[in-house]
Amino acid sequence: MVEAATGPVADPARGARPIDRIGLAMRASHLLALLLLAGCLVFALVAWRTGDVFYLRLATEALIFAGLALSVDILLGYTGLLSLGQALYFGLGAYMSAVLLRSGWSFAGVMAAVLLGATVVSFLGGLIVSRVRGVYFALITFGMAQVAAKAVYNTRELGASDGLIGVPIVKIALGFTTVSSDSPIGFFLFVLGFMVLLYLALSYLLDTPFGRILIAIRSNERRVPFLGYQPQRARLCAYVAAGIVAALSGALYPMLRGFVSPELMSFTTSGNAVITVVTGGAGTLVGALYGSVILTALRSVIGSWTSHHLIVIGLIFMAVVIFFPRGLIGVIRARLESWLVRRRTR
């Protein structure tokens, strides 16, 4: 067991690059993301051929809320923090976007402003919430979002309980082409591309030493300071990253629907994002995307029978928590992962 030599010693039996389970899990997520992307493209093709508008708009909305779910997953799935108020940042992005678009700002200007605004606000919020964890984190994020939602609800300049309507159509210049937010197929493909970028950015972030510290915090926070890191600071960074992702996604909402309402900031929206992540599979990133698509589809199917679809959604959610705590994609990804391992070792 004891070997006198210190310093790096390559082990010939293992080869230069060891199999990294977290990296492998991420690869399994990428495969599933690719599958989803293909599915979305097929859907877009069919919708475009049949001249559908309704389902394209609905699918675009599902993708926008998938962005909110991604932000919840960074906190819940990777850092082990349950945020019950992530709609605060989604709403922040949506309201900033609506106000700025109404004053004639360009798409790039709006997104830059939202990025800046979300960074500042989530940093300030993070200074508070990163001091606590566990149930306190859940309750304080819940409280913070409730207070913000009430404030918006009571602010006449932001349309109070009615929200803001009449957000103009925006042209998005992409260099090779220009997408108009009122083109169902064009804006769907744009949002799809945007979510792919968010997903790739987050999976990159989680594969860095910073991202691995977040995963370590979820696993055993008390050990982390003895590795030379401050969990509180890492939690703050994760919270800011999540806030930015939520706000950027929210900024797309008024472009799709032409209005914003206080509902976007409410507990219902935060809660839906948590349901989406847990049902899809926390700690997989791609589960958030699948969850959002599946739940939106479910809502529209059940919604055609009854207006009380939340009962069904709630029951499904409870069943997932009890019987499949890893969520739908969590279960599938675990299979895929062990298949990848077997393929590697063969």
Partner: protein
Amino acid sequence: MIDYLQFVLAPQMVTGLSLGVAVILVALGLTIIFGLLDVINMSHGEFYAVGAYLALALGAAGLNFWLLLVLVPLLMLPIGFLVEKGLIQRVFNSPDRHTTTLLLTFGLGLVIEETLAVIFGPNTQRPPTPIRGAVEVFGVMLPNYRMFLIGFGLSVVAAVALVIYRTRLGAMVRAAAFDRHMAASLGVPVGFVFAGAFAFGIALAGLAGVLLAPVYSVFPTMGRDFILLAFTVVIVGGMGSIAGAVVAGLVLTQIQAISSLFISPVWSDPIVFGILVVMLVVRPQGLFGRLGRG
């Protein structure tokens, strides 16, 4: 000046006090459940709503208010017992109990809220006030029903404290809260105590619903609006502390009542939340220690 005190400030404080007593009842249930089971019951506000709707429906069916005051909490007991045995216990031993139970009860709250909307409709309803009129004390008009609410609610809180700190049953509960394995080996039926405590907490929330229904009206999302205040009371008082819930409940609702008078009702929520934040930063364990610990 005297007029202001007589006609504005004092009535406002009495209103705050009656709200405070109801919040204490709700918070007491939350804190007992947390102290004993280590579970955050996110559906607690919805059980408060269930209590209010039961009172509304049974009252409309002709049952006397005084009977409801006893009957509704009794009806809540089996509901709470079944929820604990059938749902909470299923995930009780999962690796991250806090998050899992929080998620589960959050889903349950959603289902209850929607079910209430299906059965009773989404509109606001209000049962008749059981005691009318008001008494005049030092020139201050005090509505009789609110005075009753305060007196009755505080007696219930005192009774709960007496049971927990002065009876054999209470000793078993405190033992189970301190160390469930130790308590089990001493012959405390821990499983029964847990389910019983959960049911009891739910019954207290239901009682608060009965008491507040004639004052604040009844609507499906009523629990959601109430729960932030109740959670704040629990955290400020110290998670799992009974004395803490009482003190924090009274203080916070008075701050809310007075601040809404001097500043604006719009600011009462941010102020309460600000207190919560300051408390979490300065003294995260709350004002008082946890049940079963000193």
